[in-house]
């Protein structure tokens, strides 16, 4: 079943074409890898799916509906949640507050109720607290709950960012280079985490430079180069695709 579909997506930046007529199908429950050399347009495509950028042309369907007109935050409400390549945490928030923040779209108490601290706010806040602690425990950050997020190690900050995204109960999770800056063992843990998330039925799109990681977890991979899609298929197909090898892997390095 198709969860999201990109049709003819293009993006110009002041006359410079960053993406040209990209078609892509993201299957429900899959892990979709997105690779390509630097400047290939991976992050741009990512930002279009998440709603940070507007596409210049084409259409984007999510669960069958066009969502191109929706804002970033509205897409979060539909279940499209992202992380950032250069980790964007809230400097003044505690670890627990970050996860609570993830519940933002799932809670419903309005301003009036919050200001008066009515029953539904009270209930909702204790539900959020409980769920957040539960989630923290699951990702193994419960001992840091009251600490400032910025004092966490780099690997834990990554994990926290993913936990925050998970708290929003995504249907489609967009991971932007989650392995960047992590050491060997942290990458292993990350791999575990991605598998667990996948096991819960969450669809993932993964932009990653770490080829081994992408090849290992993705069941579908799209390769971009110079703003165009040059290949798509399973890890094995991509490995053996002559165009990919020429355009991309031919440099002799899998890393780019």
């Amino acid at each position: 079943m198709v969860l999201a579909e990109l049709k003819n997506i293009s993006k110009d930046f002041g006359g410079i074409t960053a993406l040209k007529e990209i078609d892509m199908v993201v299957r429900q429950g899959g892990i979709h890898g997105l690779i390509g050399p630097n400047g290939a347009g991976k992050t741009t495509l990512f930002n279009i799916i998440s709603g940070n950028y507007d596409a210049t042309g084409g259409d984007l369907l999510f669960e069958g509906n066009s969502i191109l007109k929706l804002r970033n935050d509205e897409r979060v409400g539909l279940g499209i949640v992202r992380t950032f390549q250069n980790i964007r945490l809230f400097p003044s928030f505690s670890v627990l507050d970050h996860v609570k923040m993830g519940f933002h779209r799932r809670a419903s108490a309005n301003w009036l109720s919050s200001i008066l601290w009515l029953n539904n706010t009270k209930k909702e806040e204790s539900w959020i607290e409980e769920e957040s602690r539960h989630l923290l425990k699951k990702v193994g950050l419960e001992s840091f709950a009251q600490q400032q997020a910025k004092n966490l190690s780099y690997g834990n900050q990554r994990r926290l960012e993913i936990a925050r995204a998970l708290a929003a109960k995504p249907k489609l999770l967009l991971l932007d280079e989650p392995a960047a800056g992590l050491n060997e063992s942290e990458v292993r843990t990350l791999l575990e985490q991605i598998r667990e998330i996948h096991a819960e039925g969450i669809t993932i799109i993964l932009v990653e430079h770490d080829m081994n990681l992408v090849m290992e977890v993705s069941d579908q991979i799209t390769v971009l180069s110079h703003g165009q899609k040059i290949a798509e298929g399973s890890a094995n197909e991509i490995r053996n695709n002559p165009i990919v090898i020429r355009e991309y892997l031919g440099t002799g390095k899998i890393e780019c």
Binding site: T43, N47, Y53, F84
Partner: protein, 290 residues
């Protein structure tokens, strides 16, 4: 009346402009706002005035005193209010400079009294009369000096090593740091330049209006900030053009619409410009990076 109002506006605008480029330099480089620039203008004016009086009318030395004192005050302001908060919220420097501005006014008031001091020389003796339009010598002088200083500033920024470093720093402080530019020194130079221009402006304005008083920098600095924003913070030409046009707009608004609504009109135009182009008419947009 139109030519006369434009000349009035240009004179006023020239006085705004020397302060406005200072705002543009400071705010452009640091992305922070200063509220004590008007007081640097004021102490420049006072030190110039009292030097002139003490030396029995030595104008060049008065100007030199204004330059030295205001530049020193500017550098000190940077050390106290800006350097400790680099790369932090612009709120702290804003608050400190508000405090500095209050205390500088109070200090000058204690030292020299509250009364308005005249400039001891008659500066508007020469007049050029063209039909219905009157231009006095001092107006030509004010506009001339202002343009001269702007040209010098332009040359400094575009054709010297320091100017290059200044521009680099205003593009990206961290990058400039990495490139081996001593950003501390560059920012100090920016403050120094901005402040000495403010000091000269103070003496010029004080002499032009023949009025020196502790709060002389308050209203004009707000207008200059508006002018700089109007033209584009971070751009020297923009700030200058903005200040000059603000002066002309004010003059025309007072002349053809209503003096009571002059400032309402000026500020409303500024807000509209900000809404249409938040970086000002000639300013560069800063891209939000995801």
């Amino acid at each position: 009346m139109l030519t006369q109002q434009i000349i009035n506006g240009l004179t006023l605008g020239s006085l705004y402009a020397l302060l406005a480029v200072g705002f543009s330099l400071i705010c452009g480089i640091l992305n922070m706002i200063t509220f004590s620039h008007g007081e640097i203008f004021m102490i420049g004016a006072f030190s110039g005035l009292y030097t002139i009086i003490a030396l029995g009318g030595n104008l060049p030395l008065g100007l030199a005193a204004a330059v030295v004192v205001s530049a020193a005050a500017g550098i000190l302001t940077e050390r106290i209010a800006f350097r400790p908060f680099r790369n932090e919220s612009p709120l702290s420097p804003a608050l400190i400079t508000i405090g500095l501005s209050i205390s500088l006014q109070a200090g000058i008031l204690l030292l020299f009294g509250a009364d308005t001091k005249p400039f001891p020389y008659n500066v508007s003796a020469h007049k050029f009369i063209l039909g219905n339009t009157v231009i006095s010598g001092i107006e030509v002088f004010v506009i001339g000096i202002s343009i001269l200083l702007m040209i010098m500033l332009h040359l400094f920024i575009h054709y010297t090593r320091w100017g290059l470093a200044l521009r680099a720093t205003s593009q990206r402080i961290e990058a400039a740091d990495i490139m081996g530019i001593s950003t501390n020194r560059i920012i100090a130079i920016a403050f120094c330049t901005a402040s000495l221009l403010a000091g000269i402006d103070g003496l010029l304005a004080g002499a032009y209006y023949s009025a020196f008083y502790p709060r002389m920098g308050v209203a004009i600095s707000l207008k200059a900030l508006a002018g700089a924003t109007f033209g584009g913070i971070g751009s020297i030409q923009g700030a200058m053009a903005g200040a000059l046009s603000l002066g002309v707009i004010e003059s025309l608004a007072a002349g053809y619409i209503s003096a009571s609504y002059r400032d309402v009109i000026a500020f409303t135009i500024l807000i509209f410009v900000l809404l249409i182009k938040p970086s000002g008419l000639l300013g560069q947009m800063r891209e939000e990076k995801v």
